[in-house]
């Protein structure tokens, strides 16, 4: 399952969209909300000129919820017959213009995550997913396709979203610089 079988980009996109649909049903949004600890959230936006790693050094998760959700994400990624990741992105309470990736996976694919970022500005396609519950396909990085899909809580609200992502063609599999 590490090789993209050479499907056309459209076929890859169809597979990813299929996984995204399943993800929207399978992932427990309430559990997702419990992953990042209150302490980590408290420190996430603290700034100390004497300690530039303050937020990162205090980043912590509840591992039971984390592992349960991560295992579901891994299972979902295995629906694809090629290398695929399903990443979890969550809004941050009190910071509607921000978003954070909470779980990444083994191929380390994403069109959005910047190495080291604890949170990022909310990307417009993600905002659309959070506000409308619609799936959105993104092809902003050459050679990659992501399908974003909502994650729902037990009340039917959109709690977060998943990024189902893969390379769009086998040639993109050469190791990147």
């Amino acid at each position: 399952m590490t090789e993209n079988p050479g499907n056309a980009s459209e076929q890859v996109e169809q597979e990813l969209d299929h996984i995204a649909r399943v993800a929207a049903v399978m992932i427990d949004g309430d559990a997702c909300r419990r992953i990042v600890t209150p302490r980590a959230l408290e420190y996430m936006f603290k700034i100390d000129p004497q300690d530039r790693f303050l937020a990162g050094d205090n980043y912590d998760v509840n591992d039971a919820e984390y592992n349960t959700v991560k295992k579901t994400l891994i299972r979902l990624s295995r629906l694809a017959p090629f290398a695929c990741d399903v990443n979890l992105w969550m809004p941050i309470p009190g910071h509607p213009d921000k978003i954070q990736v909470v779980i990444r996976n083994a191929h380390e694919l994403s069109q959005f995550w910047v190495f080291g970022a604890l949170y990022q500005d909310l990307f417009p396609p993600m905002k659309t997913v959070l506000e409308t519950g619609q799936r959105v396909t993104v092809k902003q990085t050459p050679g990659m396709i992501s399908v974003l899909a909502p994650v729902y809580d037990s009340l039917g609200s959109v709690a977060g979203l998943v990024e189902v992502v893969a390379h769009s063609s086998p040639s993109a599999h050469e190791e990147k610089m």
Binding site: Q50, D57, D60, V61, N67, E108, M177
Partner: protein
């Protein structure tokens, strides 16, 4: 017993006297330094001259000394006198110095250097020093471009393009092998330029003492993945047919990096996986199947990568001789070889045990038994790959994962296996607790130096129970005194630690040649812009190498003089301190849970040693070296 107060008073007095004598010596001796006299610290009016500086005084491109080393210039008064340079070293080591060409007018010059050795054992390596421009406007030499003699070029150097350059510096390495004949050797450096000629006599005294082959401390140079090699050798990548990342050329370059560090008495590490578990193919055997059927399918890339490193053949042509790399990372991480999908279930253990068991068998069959294979977890929660910190644990509940991996590894390894698997942990906040709780599980510790400094005796305790203990930090930038890099090796030895890790040592920045950022993440450079197909060393790497070889020689005298005595003498000479002063008191905050510590509290806890090293001078190691040579002279 002498009171601590009195000791401190004596120490201060000695420091004062040393400073006063140094200034006095400088005032009296300045005319003797350099061929025609004058201070090496301040360039004289332009004239043609050939002169030498000790390794700890780095030259600038204008005939002077770089600002960071300038205050130590008085310590060089005896180095070169009457056009004659005197060197000494033990066998199995290098004698090094800077040789500087200055021309009266811009133009061509020819430099040559010979040393008489009828036995033909002694070898001379010459490197052209590259002057890196900094944003401050200062120039520091660091990258060393191999040169051959006689060397012809011109000032200003057309490649380095330093405005107003009047002087070109060369790093000279004289390699004295263990089987060289002890005694006096003499030779001469000559310069021809603009119809004038200059010469400098070179005298080398080789002591009978031999530097032991095993370094007393392991100076480790860390790196991540291998994409940086492609970035630093773009021409090699373009010239390689097919996938560069699986090519013989890439493996040649990787081996070349190992060689350059090995030749400089160091170790090289490449971590082959990311924070979420992505393994770069050449760092691991290819797998197939899953759960109870998961197994290794193909060793090809792994063996091409590691085979010559693990059997030592990659080092066959080196001066230190072929030997296996002493340490290497395994690709094991929470997602390899077992998928995190099965964590906590029998499937995880099945995948882990199957694959790691095959690895042990493969290594055993290949007789790769001279290397420590490290199971090491580098991931941090903040990079969102896993639910626990593998690197620098701060939250104690994460230790349960270490215990489980320790159990799995023990389950894999057959009793009495000659293959050396070690469980390595890089520790900071929580190290004191981990030393206790992971006793018998983790067997290799890489400790944050600042926090380790609170736990005097911890390295010795770990060594005594059979563990390996290193500490980590980063390369000092070029703007620090030249001796800063020697402090790292000396500190390891004083602390009873067994090594030091430069957390990143191969990243010189996008344009180290004309837009240099200080070198705080590199000790080597790509040689590609000079038409070379290998990495090239740096001044700092050379100074570190020489310190390691001299420290190794010093340590070899412990049976005669006692280790504590040697440490006292070395620290006194290095910075007028005592070995005890290299430790900080265990602070009160160490009794609080590590996740409650603040940065400012930790900073405060390190204040005593920070003050101790704040005024380090460039000649610090030179004084230790003089002591080592003093002992070597007495060794028959």
């Amino acid at each position: 017993m002498e009171s601590p107060l009195k000791k401190a008073a004596n120490s201060s007095r000695r420091a004062f006297l040393k400073t006063a004598l140094g200034v006095l010596a400088a005032e009296q001796a300045l005319p003797a330094v350099g061929e025609a006299g004058g201070s090496p610290a301040s360039p004289r009016n332009r004239e043609t001259r050939l002169f030498a500086l000790p390794q700890f005084l780095r030259p600038d491109p204008f005939g002077g000394i770089v600002p960071a080393d300038r205050s130590a210039a008085p310590a060089a008064v005896a180095f070169e006198k009457n056009n004659s340079l005197s060197l000494e070293c033990a066998r199995g080591s290098y004698a090094s110095f800077h040789l500087i060409v200055q021309t009266a007018v811009p133009g061509e010059y020819k430099l040559d250097l010979h040393l008489g050795d009828r036995a033909g054992k002694i070898e001379i390596d010459v490197f052209c020093e590259w002057f890196h421009p900094l944003r401050s406007g200062e120039y520091y030499p660091d990258a060393l471009v191999p040169a051959s003699l006689p060397y012809r070029s011109q000032t200003p150097d057309p490649d380095n393009k330093t405005p107003g350059q009047t002087a070109q510096a060369f790093w000279i390495d004289i390699w004295v092998p263990p089987d060289a004949i002890p005694g006096e050797y003499s030779g001469r450096a000559t310069l021809e330029s603009g119809g004038q000629s200059r010469r400098l006599e070179v005298r080398l005294r080789v002591h009978p003492a031999v530097v032991p082959a095993e370094d007393v401390v392991a100076m480790d140079h860390n790196s991540y993945d291998d994409s940086w090699i492609a970035a630093q050798f773009p021409a090699r990548r373009r010239a390689t047919a097919g996938n560069f990342f699986e090519s013989d050329e890439l493996f040649r370059l990787i081996h070349s990096y190992h060689r350059i560090f090995y030749e400089h008495h160091g170790v090289f590490h490449q971590l082959g996986y990311g924070h979420a578990g992505r393994v770069t193919p050449k760092f691991a055997p290819a797998l197939e199947g899953e759960r109870s059927r998961k197994r290794i399918a193909d060793w090809n890339l792994y063996d091409r990568h590691y085979g010559p490193l693990l059997d030592g053949s990659a080092f066959a042509q080196t001066r230190r001789g072929a030997r296996p790399i002493p340490f290497t990372y395994l690709p094991i991480n929470p997602e390899w070889p077992a998928s995190w999908l099965w964590w906590g279930e029998p499937g995880y253990e099945a995948e882990f045990v199957n694959v790691v068991g095959e690895m042990e068998q493969h290594f055993r069959e290949k007789s790769w038994t001279g290397t420590n294979f490290e199971m090491f977890f580098n991931h941090k929660k903040r990079y969102m790959g896993f639910s626990w910190d593998g690197d620098e644990v701060r939250f104690p509940r994460d230790l349960s994962y270490f215990k489980e991996y320790g159990r799995l590894l023990k389950k894999v390894l057959p009793a009495g296996t000659p293959v050396r698997f070690v469980f390595r942990a890089d520790v900071s906040w929580d190290m004191e607790q981990q030393f206790r709780e992971l006793n018998g599980i983790v067997t290799m510790w890489t400790c944050a130096g600042g926090i380790l400094s609170w736990y005097k005796g911890a390295p010795k305790m770990l060594r005594e129970r059979g563990d390996t203990v290193w500490y980590y930090g980063g390369p000092p930038e070029v703007t620090q005194p030249s001796s800063a890099i020697t402090e790292l090796a000396l500190r390891a030895w004083v602390w009873d630690a067994m090594g030091f890790v430069h957390w990143l040592a191969v990243s010189p920045g996008k344009d180290p040649w004309f837009n240099f950022t200080g070198g705080g993440t590199t000790l080597v450079y790509s040689g590609e812009r000079f038409g070379l197909v290998d990495p090239i060393p740096s001044v700092r790497l050379k100074i570190q190498r020489n310190a390691v070889q001299e420290l190794t020689l010093l340590d070899s005298y412990k049976s005669r003089h006692g280790l504590e005595k040697l440490k006292s003498e070395a620290t006194q000479r290095f910075n007028s301190s005592t070995p005890d002063a290299w430790w900080n008191p265990r602070p009160a905050l160490a009794d609080k849970p590590p996740y409650e510590w603040t940065n400012s509290e930790m900073e405060a806890a390190g204040e005593p040693t920070r003050k101790l090293f704040a005024s380090l001078d460039a000649a610090a190691w030179s004084r230790v070296r003089q002591y080592v040579m003093q002992l070597a002279r007495k060794t028959l």
